[in-house]
Symmetry: C2
Subunit: 269 residues, 2 copies
Amino acid sequence: MGNQRSERVFSMPTRKLESVVSLRDIRVACKACSLKEICLPVGIDRDDLERLDSIIDRKHPLARGEHLFRVGDRFQSIYAVRSGSLKTYSTSEGGHEQVMGFQLPGELVGLDAISENQHPLAAKALETTSVCEIPFTDLESLSSQISGLQHQLLRVMSQEIRDDEQNMVILGQKSAEQRLAAFLISISNRFRRRGFSATQFNLSMSRSDIGNYLGLALETVSRLFTRFQNDGLLRVDRKHIELLDREKLCAYSGAHCSEQQPPQESSGQ
Amino acid sequence: MGNQRSERVFSMPTRKLESVVSLRDIRVACKACSLKEICLPVGIDRDDLERLDSIIDRKHPLARGEHLFRVGDRFQSIYAVRSGSLKTYSTSEGGHEQVMGFQLPGELVGLDAISENQHPLAAKALETTSVCEIPFTDLESLSSQISGLQHQLLRVMSQEIRDDEQNMVILGQKSAEQRLAAFLISISNRFRRRGFSATQFNLSMSRSDIGNYLGLALETVSRLFTRFQNDGLLRVDRKHIELLDREKLCAYSGAHCSEQQPPQESSGQ
DNA sequence: TGGCCGCATTGACGCAGATCAAATGTCTAT
DNA sequence: ATAGACATTTGATCTGCGTCAATGCGGCCA
């Protein structure tokens, strides 16, 4: 695991320039990070944010194909994706791989490792990717002091459970067509939340990864992309996707997927 | 839905008899509960346990078919199953049901509701079932005071994420035979942990529930049960299952599933 | 600039498991 | 007990998608 380091030397323990973006986006403080509205800092006030910030370690970027951690690695930290993307996967005894998820900026990885103190999945960069490392022991003790942080951590984990349940529905009862449609809509929504285009994006993962994730053969994924294109739902060019008819894509996915609703203020409490 | 009540009248708010098991197991304190080694109290010392106990509300039992909560219900509490069993499920627009999981004694339900403050799934009793209600606001504030409780809560949620991931593997790439085998082994292991027989038990859920949960038609489940029986793996009689050859069943499931190993101290780092 | 290699597309074919159908067994309420 | 509703089993048929196979297309390195 001996990974190279480089700009580490520049990061002095006492840094003053708070709002200045330093070298290569490395070391953007949480409060200056564009992801703070969707990442762990949600709902944490200015002072507490600084405390959270102080335990976070911003690593230098992973190259495409590099591992953030592997199956069985001792659990020490969770990670937040800052830029780029990851896939998490497990490998069965037969060497067969199962892709469990893709992580975009602002999303956390490693939460499934808390219970057994070791990672049940590996996490690999799909492209050049940088992450924030959040040592779990520190996070835990900070959480008991900052109630907003505790709450947000629980919320994020709860959301992950919910997302996994959603995936179980998709794997358990949707057709190939519905699965891919649902996947594209989900990706699109996640990009939008992060301020990227919802109608035009690049998929950093291969057809094989998509198929594996959706429980489909990669050939099926490929065929579906061409079918969707013929049906006027989207335009595909290699990794690049342009959604042309989101409505119809929703219909194909066999779910409401309005997803657009403003963060409805759920009554009280 | 007007559910009958009966022994409620016997459970007085001021109870003195701490170590005495009261009527029909109602109102067993955590410290006297046989599930305390696998439920939320894990790793919490005597005094703190009393504090946890004080926020928990032991409800009278649910009858078979009764709902603990429904989709969209406001989230206020998580629940621990004390006896009996539950299924959680969602219903798609087409009225089609997707079973997400089954809860046995000592397991928590409702953790997926934290993030949106409302329940994404319904929970229904598969048989006469009693639960402990744990108001979430209280639990949260207690968690920030009792570090063991915070840790255990995170562990339980992490475990749930891990289990869901395991289910995704099953739904994504296992054959019907492997799915049912894996399901039976999982149930067996869960029963064992709770001190019940691992080789002989009653399934409280229908074939249809099992099939739905595993992404299979109920006919397929039924056929597999007879096949397994013919292959000498087990004996089935209606809901009653007797595992005859656990080894072979493991092989059928296409996973190591030793599961029996003592909490192996994984070699450092 | 060309050749190679991994990824993607497209086609042909077969099978696991869904669906349809019907018979039988079992629980519940009167 | 008896009827009726429902759960389960078993059989027959059909089909969506996996598998195998061949070809096409970039991107990368020498």
